[in-house]
């Protein structure tokens, strides 16, 4: 496939538009993240150093963070260096922020991933089942439970689960994390409770979307055509209804991911889970603004990348884009 053909191929043009759009949003994200610290009342470096304030340490940190230059210049140098992975240094111990974030990434990624798997494992079957039994008892049960899931504060659920399964029954560890490659059994043992909390809340959100997506598709003409062919119910449901419902569900899951990632923070604090969320929580107490800034940026970029992947999947799944 020659370059011009490659460039003009509909999927590539679709993706290029999506990437272009994401880059614009990324720049916006950088501006917001940068503005966050610029808004700090008083001098962030002075506040962060606190008792360890000495003129030399103050100057060194200010220079390292480039806070002595005009705001405009600071932004471009921040954005430029962020692109190359340099996110400045932590006010608390001078370590490069990128390194600190990388230490924490595996924990948050495993928690978010486990949460998503649990969410999909619950939401997809429940959403489809309740849509296909619309108006009947099982539909009402699924809707009410998903309402419950939406209304339970995740940190409260975490505390109650710890009290029940760890402190009283002792089946599972109360908190902490074991790296996947170092200690896979320990990793899973520690992941079960927090993962369930993240997963259950996410499942509550997704179930409603799955249900309405399937309901909407079930009214479509091609489903009636499928029934008019006398196809077995399984084929009508999965090859026609669910498959077409997956397209809108995919987009919504991508968007909902932001709220799920948000929920991870509180769960990490409750379970002493050494991820990005707990890092942000600790950094807030320590006024470690570069780390807060870096974590917020990383999570937002993560969200954009995941949405790009969802778009890619979208282009692959939906022929109307592939062969428009």
């Amino acid at each position: 496939m020659t370059l011009p053909a490659f460039v003009s191929h509909p999927v590539v043009r679709f993706l290029a538009r999506r990437v272009g759009y994401s880059l614009v949003v990324l720049i916006g994200v950088l501006v917001v993240v940068f503005a966050l610290v610029a808004l700090v009342p008083g001098d962030p470096v002075r506040i962060a150093l606190g008792t360890r304030y000495t003129p030399e340490a103050y100057e060194a940190l200010r220079a390292a963070s480039g806070l002595d230059r005009p705001l405009f210049v600071q932004f471009f140098s921040y954005a430029g260096s962020a692109m190359t992975g340099d996110l400045g240094v932590s006010f608390r111990n001078g370590e490069p922020v990128a390194q600190i974030l990388l230490d924490r990434l595996p924990a948050t990624v495993s928690l978010a991933a486990f949460g998503i798997v649990v969410a999909c494992a619950i939401a997809l079957p429940a959403g489809i089942w309740s849509a296909l039994h619309e108006g009947r008892l099982s539909d009402a049960i699924v809707r009410i439970t998903s309402q419950f899931g939406l209304s339970i504060p995740d940190f409260w659920m975490g505390i109650l689960l710890i009290a029940l399964f760890s402190t009283t029954l002792g089946w599972l560890p109360t908190s902490g994390y074991r790296p996947l490659f170092g200690d896979p059994v320990g990793w899973l043992q520690h992941l079960v409770l927090p993962g369930l909390v993240v997963g259950f809340v996410a499942a509550a959100i997704l179930t409603r979307y799955v249900r309405s997506a399937v309901l909407e598709v079930a009214d479509m003409g091609y489903v009636r055509t499928a029934r008019s062919k006398g196809l077995p119910p399984r084929v009508v449901t999965f090859r026609h209804t669910v498959r077409n419902a997956l397209v809108p569900i995919l987009t919504v899951t991508g968007i909902q991911l932001a709220t799920i990632l948000g929920g991870v923070i509180v769960v990490e604090v409750v379970f002493a889970w050494p991820g990005l969320g707990r890092l942000v929580y600790n950094s807030v107490a320590a006024r470690d603004y570069p780390v807060i800034q870096g974590a917020v940026l990383l999570m937002a970029v993560g969200f954009l990348v995941i949405n790009l992947l969802v778009d890619l999947l979208y282009a692959v799944v939906d022929p109307r884009i592939r062969l428009s």
Partner: protein, 508 residues
């Protein structure tokens, strides 16, 4: 979008760049056989001569040494100095240093290091400079001998030089490289390995330690602020030791044979201090009114669930320097009378507490309720410890609650806090008699006379309400049954040099 390929490449490059930053994260935390100790907060820094946070000293106790150090009964024993002799006029102390000692980076330890360490504290006026108020000269006679001259006989010089690791012997290279605050180098049983901010600090055993190589390969200090989480981690076998034990569970844990619990009365004490630089707290009658207005019994019960002993002075019962004192009782009418007498009725009080010491937050809420009948609304300001220290030193408070730990000599208990130009006199108390008595105590060599000086000083301090002393907490620590060769100390110093682990329950 002319070059879509270029746009995609930019994003991918950015992603690769982020992930390829040096990721050789050494996973030290879970080294096999390491002793895992959970402490309640993260050290604000690791330079022993600058920090005043107890969390820092819990770590640095195992990294540094002092010339002399207290034993289990808090009597000073040889450490880096094997022996010392005092001139007849008690003005010259000659210390003979231990031979063959090296720093963790392999550099040899010598008298020059001692001189450099002490000169640094004195010249830079660091946190514990008042411990050297009597010292006129520190000089190295030769590689293994250090001579210290004092302006007047100083009976508590040894406690000053070795009471706690604030007087640690540091390495010049480590200080001048500026790395001491984050990568300290000492001569102690364990060497600093790494720190993961907000999560843990790892120490590795120093095989060439002069007191004999430690029996555990290393120690990991994990930071778990929530006491109940730390305790459950201990019960689940994920950690081996912790001093962050929920006081409300102590009675319940006493009967629990799955872990060892130590509740040792200590020389530590918790106090309230009113900012005498601000009206109306400058008036002793108002301060006395507050002393009568608070319900000590409830405060002690709510913060320690009976594991502490109420005390209206600093030095606890059972300590040779103890003086009885019980003038104040919970009497709201007496408090009202005193306020009327003083003719001022403060409406608001800004009380400074810190989330890293939950006792202060709990006590504040009891005090707020106690003082409301007096018409005082207590505005509880909860900040993190670093900010708390800032606010205290800059006098931004009406009342604060804090504790002093690791005191041995009566001078440790009173001088810095209540002498007019004491380094820690944040409440700005000044009383000529107290100054006179405390200065005398520093030179008085006759023990009985010295006892009298400090007893009189204590009474004035209590009567003038420089501090409202609350209670002496116990050092509450718990560790797994597999940990042996460790015992809790009265001065709260955490020493793992003799600790050993027999196959841990939690170890897969």
């Amino acid at each position: 979008m002319r070059q879509p390929a270029a746009a995609i490449a930019a994003v991918v490059a950015m992603l690769v760049a982020v992930s390829c930053a040096p990721a050789q994260r050494v996973d030290l935390g879970q080294g096999s056989g390491y002793l895992i100790a959970a402490i309640a907060g993260e050290p604000d820094q690791l330079d022993p001569q600058k920090t005043s946070a107890y969390f820092s000293f819990e770590v640095l106790e195992n990294v540094f040494d002092t010339l002399v150090e207290p034993d289990a009964d808090l009597e000073m024993r040889p450490a880096l100095a094997t022996s010392w002799d005092v001139s007849p006029d008690q003005l010259t102390w000659t210390f003979h240093l231990r031979k063959g000692v090296t720093f963790h980076d392999g550099c040899p330890f010598s008298a020059d290091d001692v001189v450099y360490s002490y000169r640094r504290i004195i010249d830079d006026k660091l946190a514990n400079v008042d411990k050297f108020s009597a010292v006129t000269d520190v000089v190295a006679r030769d590689r293994d001998t250090v001579v210290i001259r004092v302006a007047h006989p100083t009976p508590n010089l040894l406690t000053n030089l070795g009471g706690f690791k604030g007087m640690a012997i540091v390495s010049r290279k480590n200080v001048e490289s500026g790395r001491i605050a984050t990568h300290p180098i000492g001569t102690g049983p364990f060497a600093f390995a790494s720190q993961k901010s907000g999560d843990s600090i790892v120490l590795v055993a120093n095989p060439k330690y002069w007191g004999g190589a430690p029996k555990v390969p290393g120690v990991t200090f994990e930071f778990i602020t929530e006491p109940s989480t730390a305790l459950s981690a201990l019960q689940a076998g994920e950690i081996d030791w912790t001093d962050s034990v929920p006081t409300q569970r102590i009675s319940q844990l006493k009967g629990d044979d799955s872990l060892k619990l130590a509740v040792t009365p200590s020389n530590d004490y918790w106090y309230l201090a009113l900012n005498e630089a601000r009206a109306p707290w400058s008036d002793p009658r108002v301060r006395r009114a507050i002393a009568y207005g608070i319900d000590r019994q409830s405060i002690v019960q709510a913060t320690s669930y009976g594991s502490a002993s109420a005390n209206q002075l600093a030095i606890p019962k059972g300590n040779p320097w103890y003086t009885p004192y019980d003038r104040y009782r919970y009497d709201t009418n007496e408090a009202k009378r005193l306020l009327d007498e003083a003719g001022t009725h403060p409406g608001k009080m800004d009380m400074l507490v810190t989330s890293e010491y939950p006792e202060t937050v709990t006590a504040a809420q009891v005090i707020a309720d106690n003082l409301s009948p007096l018409g005082i609304t207590v505005d509880i300001r909860t900040v993190d410890f670093a900010t708390w220290l800032d606010e205290q030193n800059s006098g931004h408070f009406d009342m604060l609650m804090m504790g002093w730990l690791g005191n041995i000599d009566p001078d440790d208990f009173y001088y810095a806090q209540h002498h007019t130009d004491g380094a820690s006199n944040a409440q700005k108390f000044s009383n000529p008699d107290v100054d006179r008595l405390l200065d005398a105590g520093r030179v008085e060599t006759n023990r009985a006379a010295r006892q009298q000086d400090y007893a009189k000083a204590a009474l004035i301090i209590a009567d003038q309400v420089s501090y409202i002393y609350l209670y002496n907490p116990s050092v509450v620590q718990a560790w797994t049954t597999n940990l042996s060769g460790y015992e809790a100390r009265r001065d709260g110093a955490v020493r793992f040099r003799t600790a050993s682990l027999t196959g841990r329950a939690g170890d897969q």
